[in-house]
């Protein structure tokens, strides 16, 4: 096995372990928290006999270890269990929601990359002090904006102007208007939540890349390239960027994880039908297997982000492929 294949195999094994640990941990934590689905279902005014009957019917009278064992044996067969709240397989419930969250997160990441990287290159390579200061100021402002706050502000903006929908993922009128109209409608609904998520990430990417680019431009190979008469723009965008991008690529995995937690807040405010809202409702109602299922899918995102980050790093740095 080549060193690179071994490297990938190690990373994939780590990803599987991550998913298992996160979903198991969330299941244990929710099970150990005070209250269970039966108390949620009935509310405070309920007799203990009724509660006991419900617990027996729902299988909540068994020990946590026993419930976990059942769930784990199902997980081996990729069965995430059954939601107590919806009485449906968790896999069915989280599938579509995970897709919706992925659409939101991927769009936000795309926008953040599209904004953050070029600005980072400009800020890190430009000699125009005013421009660099302006970009830095904007980035610091952008980094201080939590997605929750930004999405609330955007919702007000949409309500006042009517330019964008205030929430949701699709319009009722777009339901039967064909695939293209449907896609455009989703895109129209995506703008504000994706921007709310993307702005702080774009700012982070810009700051990281600007610093890295600034340091890279001091490297001897850059000075040599410039001395050979290669145009500065080409040196910056082709030679320096390939080196400066490495630390940025390295934190993409972390960004994807942050993107997911940020998207949970944005989904609640903008009524985006994603995993965040489903998990929030599941947590409130102590729907243990649904929480674990949502956490599992969330950790899959995180693991995928880390893997992508590793691939990107390996692509950008040949030494990693050879080690």
């Amino acid at each position: 096995m080549s060193p690179f294949a071994l490297f990938l195999a190690r990373r994939v094994a780590f990803a599987v372990l991550l998913v298992l640990l996160v979903s198991s941990g969330s299941m244990w934590l929710v099970s150990l928290a005070p209250g269970d689905y039966a108390t949620q279902l009935r509310g405070p005014g309920v007799s203990s006999a009724t509660l006991e009957r419900d617990r027996e019917r729902l299988g909540l009278d068994r020990s946590i270890a026993e419930q976990y064992g059942d769930w784990l044996s199902g997980l081996v067969r990729l069965d995430l269990g059954t939601s107590l709240r919806f009485a449906r397989p968790v896999r069915e419930l989280v599938g579509m929601r995970a897709c919706n969250t992925a659409i939101l997160a991927a769009t936000a990441l795309f926008i953040a990359t599209l904004i953050g990287l070029p600005l980072g290159v400009i800020a890190g390579s430009s000699s125009a002090a005013g421009l660099v200061s302006a970009i830095r100021g904007l980035s610091v402002f952008g980094m201080s904006l939590p997605p929750l706050l930004t999405s609330i502000v955007f919702a007000f903006f949409a309500a006042r102007t009517g330019w964008f929908p205030i929430g949701g993922m699709t319009s009722l009128r777009a339901v039967d208007s064909g695939a293209l109209a449907g896609l455009l409608d989703i895109g129209w609904h995506l703008v504000l939540p994706a921007l709310a998520l993307a702005l702080p990430i774009a700012a982070t990417l810009e700051r990281l890349l600007a610093r890295s680019m600034h340091e890279t431009l001091q490297e001897p190979f850059i000075l040599a390239a410039l001395a050979r008469g290669i145009p500065r723009r080409r040196v910056v965008w082709r030679h320096a960027l390939r080196v400066a991008i490495r630390p940025v690529a390295g934190i993409y995995g972390v960004i994807v994880g942050g993107l997911l937690s940020g998207s949970f807040a944005v989904e609640l405010v903008t009524a985006w039908p994603g995993l965040g809202r489903l998990m929030f409702d599941a947590l409130i109602s102590r729907d243990v297997q649904l929480v674990a299922g949502c956490a599992a899918v969330g950790s899959v995102f995180l693991a995928c982000g880390n893997l992508l980050s590793d691939f990107a790093l390996a692509a950008a740095d040949p030494r990693l492929r050879e080690e």
């Binding site: 928290a33 005070p34 209250g35 269970d36 108390t39 949620q40 279902l41 009935r42 509310g43 405070p44 005014g45 309920v46 007799s47 203990s48 009724t50 509660l51 009957r53 419900d54 019917r57 709240r85 919806f86 009485a87 449906r88 069915e92 419930l93 579509m96 929601r97 919706n100 609330i152 919702a155 007000f156 949409a158 309500a159 009517g162 929908p165 205030i166 929430g167 949701g168 993922m169 699709t170 009722l172 339901v175 609640l268 405010v269 903008t270 009524a271 039908p273 994603g274 809202r277 489903l278 929030f280 409702d281 409130i284 109602s285 102590r286």
Partner: protein, 603 residues
């Protein structure tokens, strides 16, 4: 001897007329005022119908034409399409739109009116009622509705394997209602004990189609039947609408049920609306913004005090109408853990479970200031569980606990609670500081504000309060397991008639929050309340029941097991294009009469 049910729709309650009065007096926005004549005519018509007595032929008419669709919001998603399995707001609303019960409580008159049962006769024993089903009623899939469906529904709700949360409210002394069907259009219901509200309790039970659900009940899979992934074509109901589509996390779309059994006075088939769409919007701020922007016609709950500013602007722009429903039926309350075993080893028990302690706390809080701070002035001070919003059962004659620091101080001193070391905090006889932990619902802004006010007011008296805002699930668990010193909480009354909330009043009740599920009454006054409740359940005469219930309220107020401070005013907001709105203090506030709602066509 039998009493025939007559005039089941009474006159309009004060709420509806108060709203009209506000319109006439010009306290409403101009665009709203323009609709006064139409609404007056409509309400006059409704009163006329009351005299005629059959809601099967309603008299409100759409003001500007029929048809159209309404868009509303819901905070969460229904857990199931089967109301027998869940009672949370979304499933309840789904049921109100797609299903129907034998009788209905008219939310504006608070009277029971014939619904699927066109009439009924009641025996003098206070237990037996013979209901005549309307003929020629069919489910939305075309199958006829008969007494067999009624029997099936009762069988399902009482089935232990189903574990319906509705079953407890349909059991009396732990026993089910006995239901028989002499023929296809007659049902006899017999309560195990005399029950004065009679068939009123049947409002909460939707009739289910036996032809669709019986196989699941027999196979023991009823709990899986009609889950949220069930195709709309596999559902059928007797309500005004039928589910057309459900997009998880996004919306439920309902279409008019063409086989709905009601017509208006002019013979027009109800419902007026062609459809209803309910958008899922979890966040209350977003919900409000969508209403203000005209994206939706109504929101799921009442208007919060902090939302009135934005809504007033939208009302001024003619986008929104605000309906003031008066004082809410439900009010939050402070209660202490009065279960002796729960505090058996706690040295504070001698004073924390003492009546004088509760009276002192009640006197220590300025209720007017409380209403102004917690509800931004949109509330009324109260002294007992029944608020002025409950016209029939409220009494202003309860003992009052006015703000009186001297009296509170004297009561605390009488318990030996005085500031012994001059640090501003009282100590009991053992020298332990007088302080307790107060649980409340984290994230509920009014409850959090209320506990802060209580903490401030009680600290003036030298009482330490440790606030413990608690996540809802944990809060429920701690209250249910009696693991608390005190809690500030509330619950939703399911009916205006106190007999609908027996669990709250009876010492054996599970909702007797301060000391639930007592085997025998823990105190003389609770035994007295139990006896009075039992007596009023056997009395048919409403005036006598009210008299008895006033005595119950007085007894409870004298002992302050629950300390009430203020009841908020309840308002709901709808778009101005929505007509025939008759909002109710009971949920669902607007969609309870969805079949009568109409929308104005775009101008």
């Amino acid at each position: 001897m039998r009493r025939r049910s007559e005039a089941v729709i009474g006159s309009k309650t004060s709420h509806a007329w108060r709203t009209i009065g506000q319109w006439i007096n010009g306290t409403r926005q101009p665009m709203v005022r323009m609709r006064v004549c139409g609404v007056l005519a409509a309400l006059a018509g409704l009163t006329l119908a009351a005299a005629c007595g059959d809601p099967g032929r309603a008299v409100l008419t759409p003001s500007d034409g029929e048809g159209g669709a309404l868009v509303g919001t819901i905070r969460g998603e229904p857990r199931t399409f089967n109301h027998l399995l869940a009672v949370e707001n979304e499933t309840l609303l789904f049921s109100r739109l797609t299903q129907a019960s034998l009788v209905r409580i008219n939310r504006t008159t608070d009277m029971v009116e014939p619904w699927l049962a066109g009439s009924w006769e009641s025996e003098d024993d206070g237990r037996t009622h013979r209901l005549a089903l309307r003929p020629d009623v069919t489910f939305s899939d075309g199958a006829p509705f008969t007494s067999a469906d009624v029997l099936f529904t009762f069988e399902a709700v009482y089935d232990d394997a189903v574990g319906s949360p509705l079953a407890d409210s349909l059991r009396f002394d732990g026993l089910p209602i006995e239901v028989t069907a002499p023929d296809d259009v007659t049902v006899v219901v017999r309560f195990p004990v005399p029950y004065s509200p009679g068939v009123r309790v049947l409002d909460s039970l939707p009739m289910l189609p036996k032809h669709l659900l019986e196989p699941a009940l027999r196979a023991g899979t009823f709990r899986d039947a009609w889950d949220v992934t069930t195709a709309p074509t596999e559902l059928a109901g007797l309500g005004p609408f039928a589910l057309e589509s459900y997009v998880p996390g996004q919306r439920l779309v309902f279409a008019k049920n063409p086989r709905y059994w009601r017509q208006d006075a002019g013979g027009v088939q109800l419902p007026y609306l062609d459809g209803i769409t309910l958008e899922v919007v979890s966040d209350q701020n977003t919900e409000m913004l969508r209403l203000e922007a005209g994206e939706v016609d109504l929101i799921s709950g009442g208007v919060r005090a902090e939302d009135f500013g934005g809504l007033a602007r939208a009302a001024h722009d003619g986008k929104v109408q605000i309906h003031d429903l008066g004082v809410d039926l439900n009010a939050d309350f402070l209660f202490f853990n009065l279960r002796p075993e729960a505090m058996a080893d706690d040295p504070r028990r001698s004073w924390l479970q003492h009546r004088d302690w509760r009276l002192a706390v009640s006197h220590a809080v300025d209720r007017v200031s409380f209403a102004n701070t917690v509800y931004l002035g949109l509330a009324q001070p109260i002294h007992g569980p029944i608020t002025p919003g409950n016209g029939t059962w409220f009494t202003p004659e309860l003992p009052k606990f006015e703000y009186d620091v001297q009296r509170a101080d004297a009561l605390l001193a009488g318990l030996g609670l005085i500031d012994r070391d001059g640090d501003g905090l009282r100590e009991d006889a053992t020298g332990s500081p007088v302080r307790f932990a107060l649980l409340t619902h984290q994230g509920n802004s009014s409850r959090e504000r209320a506990t802060q006010v209580l903490q401030a007011d009680l600290s003036q008296l030298g009482i330490g309060v440790d606030l413990v805002p608690t996540e809802f699930g944990t809060l429920i668990e701690r209250i249910t397991s009696m693991d608390f010193d005190a809690a500030y909480f509330g619950f939703l009354a399911t009916d205006t008639d106190p007999a609908g909330n027996l669990d709250f009043w009876l010492s054996s009740g599970a909702s007797h929050f301060w000391n639930p599920n007592q085997a025998t009454p823990a105190s003389d006054w609770e035994a007295r309340v139990d006896a009075l409740i039992s007596e009023q359940l056997q009395v048919a005469d409403l005036d006598r029941r009210v008299e008895l219930f006033n005595e119950i309220q007085t007894t409870v107020a004298e002992n302050q097991p629950l300390v009430y401070f203020a009841a908020s005013r309840l308002s709901v907001a709808t778009s101005t294009r929505l007509t025939n709105v008759e909002p109710s203090v009971l949920r669902p506030h607007v969609l309870w009469n969805a079949d009568m709602l109409a929308v104005n066509p775009p101008q």
